[in-house]
């Protein structure tokens, strides 16, 4: 489902280039829950962004559902991402002026067309947010915000869910609820790639892949 083959990424910093990601192979199959663990700066988020088609790697190949992400044009990639990849972030990234229901339906605006509003309500119900539909993110607890973000990511039934430290701001109880939803999703055939530095969270994944703190510097020229 998700296949990163020998992907690397460096970032410029003055005259130097910081290696964010050494050659890395990651594979997540349908129905598989993979946790990517490593210390800060090990390239976990970079890896996730590459897998989501948001960050072109310096080398290597990134594909989802057999499609080479970076062989597509920007617009093709945007459409593909919309239909196949769901993102969940540690900071939730909910749109502050939209209600819970509207946030769940926000990917429709990103796609430029409104679809079935019933799907948004069903997701809200599924994630225990039915009593919060008209509330804005500012009125939600951290757990509710993350559940809203999760519901939003699943609006178009993506094949892959990419989650970046999604329990980082949650207490243990809410973290378990959210992880429970991820397991449900995996159980329905979805693929999850979860970035975390929390061993306990990682332990709930079917498989854990470790990233060493391999940051290197080399001369830009």
């Amino acid at each position: 489902m998700v296949a990163l083959e020998r992907v690397t990424k460096t970032y410029p910093k003055g005259n130097l280039r910081i290696t964010a990601l050494a050659p890395l192979d990651v594979t997540v199959r349908p129905g598989e829950f993979v946790a990517l663990q490593g210390p800060s700066g090990s390239g976990k988020t970079t890896c996730l962004l590459i897998a989501g088609g948001l960050l072109r790697p310096d080398s290597g190949k990134a594909s989802v559902d057999g499609r080479d992400l970076y062989a597509m044009s920007r617009n093709q990639l945007a459409s593909f991402r919309s239909g196949n990849i769901g993102f969940v972030f540690q900071q939730y990234h909910l749109i502050p002026y939209l209600t819970v229901l509207e946030n769940i339906l926000a990917p429709e605006a990103a796609q430029g067309e409104a679809k079935d509003p019933g799907r948004g309500r069903a997701l809200a119900e599924q994630f225990g947010l039915e009593h919060r539909l008209d509330h804005t993110p500012g009125e939600l607890s951290a757990g509710e915000k993350q559940r809203t973000a999760l519901a939003r990511a699943l609006l178009f039934n993506p094949k892959v869910l990419l989650a970046d430290e999604i329990t980082g701001n949650l207490d243990h109880e809410n973290a378990q609820i959210v992880l429970g939803f991820l397991r449900e999703y995996v159980g329905s055939g979805g693929a999850v790639l979860l970035v975390t530095h929390d061993r306990e969270v990682a332990s709930q994944a079917g498989r854990v892949q470790y990233l060493a703190c391999c940051t290197e510097t080399e001369a830009a020229r």
Partner: protein, 420 residues
């Protein structure tokens, strides 16, 4: 959820941002619409003033025309009958007749049944040096009115100067200190001044009127006259040819001209009034044109200045909005939004700002223009002006927001998300 809903929600959430941009659009459109309304009302007012003044002139001219006709009816024309060999150029230059004809012509004319000729006043006049006072005068000998044989006897229009008496022109009386009752010596003869005339502003002011026979003796022209003045002729100016024919049938050796009269004076005054009225209208139009040019010049500086300032302000407002929504844009991109969708998000907002600003600015501008010009009798909705205002608002908003919107659309979502 659509882009449109997202835009509306965002505007409602960040009202100050939208309102500050809206104020700039409104102000620009208001300045444009206000300036054009002021110019439009100025033109309209000029048109009204010209029409009103032309109407007033026409009415005044009509009244003068009526007066003219009444005067014509009551007074008739004054005609001057002179010898045929009198050169009109000399007469018009000197106002004195220098050719002569028998004084019996007056009697022949009086006896002829020409209905248009009335009140005949034969005279002999010559410009001479008054030897006793060393002054150039016009000596006029007159015998008063020649009675008409076929008309009822009426009081003569002018009383003859009695023998041994003289009537003195205003200028002579003033400068020579002559008063009624004073004796004067004229060419060695003694006369009693029976009257000093009021100022007439013509050669009459240097004239002396005496009895015709005495004048003929003094000037050495016995039995001769050189003019017959026909007063109150019952004919209009365009019937002069007919009078000439009638007179020529009786007196073959004469010519007839129209003499200056009250009627002519008034007609001239009327023409002068008409000319002055036309000139006054032209002066008013010129003055208003100058004011319009000044207003136009002011507007040509103010409108572009406000447009540029507003464009800069709107650009800053949108740039601030883009900065504020960095994370939101990054997430939308992560959720599958294309660059064009992000662009649409901001440009739709700009269009909403433009349409709202166009309506508000147009209303405000026209209102200010109307109040400024004190003119409320016009239709406040001028379709062409509104279309211009709307186009200006749209172009201004889109142009000013384009760069920030493009910047937002080109934003790298990975960069934003990594920063978070």
């Amino acid at each position: 959820m659509t882009v449109w809903q997202l835009v509306i929600k965002e505007i409602l959430r960040r009202k100050p941002n939208f309102v500050s941009g809206l104020v700039a659009v409104t102000l620009s459109v208001a300045v444009l619409a206000g300036s054009l309304t002021i110019l439009r009302l100025h033109d309209l007012r000029t048109e009204q003033i010209v029409v009103r003044k032309e109407q007033e002139t026409r009415q005044r001219m009509k009244l003068l025309e009526d007066d003219y006709r009444k005067i014509m009816k009551n007074l008739g024309f004054n005609l001057l009958i002179m010898p045929a060999d009198q050169r009109l150029s000399d007469f018009y230059a000197d106002e004195v007749v220098s050719s002569y004809m028998p004084d019996s012509y007056a009697t022949r004319l009086a006896q002829a049944k020409i209905v248009t000729i009335r009140h005949l006043l034969p005279s002999l006049q010559e410009k001479v040096k008054w030897p006793e006072r060393k002054r150039t005068i016009v000596l006029i000998g007159t015998r008063g009115e020649v009675p008409s044989l076929f008309r009822d006897a009426r009081e003569p229009i002018l009383v003859a100067v009695p023998t041994g008496h003289a009537v003195i022109g205003h200028e002579l009386a003033e400068t020579l200190d002559i008063k009624a009752g004073d004796p004067i010596i004229l060419f060695g003869r003694k006369f009693i001044v029976s009257q000093c005339n009021e100022e007439r502003g013509s050669k009459d002011d240097i004239s002396i009127w005496i009895d015709l026979v005495q004048a003929q003796e003094i000037l050495g022209k016995p039995g001769r006259i050189n003019a017959i003045l026909a007063l109150k002729c019952h004919c209009a100016g365009n019937e002069l040819a007919m009078v000439r024919r009638d007179v020529a049938a009786v007196l073959p050796g004469v010519q007839v001209i129209e003499q200056g009269s009250k009627v002519l004076t008034r007609a001239e005054a009327r023409d002068r009034a008409a000319r002055e009225a036309v000139e006054a209208v032209a002066a008013e139009v010129l003055s208003r044109k100058q004011v319009r040019e000044e207003q136009e010049e002011f507007a040509s500086i103010l409108v572009p200045l406000v447009l540029v300032m507003s464009a800069l302000w709107i650009g800053l407002v949108f740039y601030a909005n883009v900065r504020e929504r960095r994370s939101e844009i990054g997430v939308l991109r992560a959720l599958g939004a294309r660059s064009s969708t992000i662009l649409r998000l901001f440009l739709t907002k700009a269009l909403l700002m433009a349409s709202t600003g166009a309506v508000a600015g147009y209303g405000l501008g026209v209102l200010v223009g109307v109040i400024r010009q004190g003119e409320v009798s016009i239709s406040l909705f001028e379709p062409r002006l509104f279309v211009l205002a709307a186009c200006t608002a749209v172009i201004l908003s889109l142009a000013a927001s384009w760069l920030p919107a493009y910047y937002a659309a080109q934003q790298d979502p990975a960069e934003v998300l990594r920063e978070e």
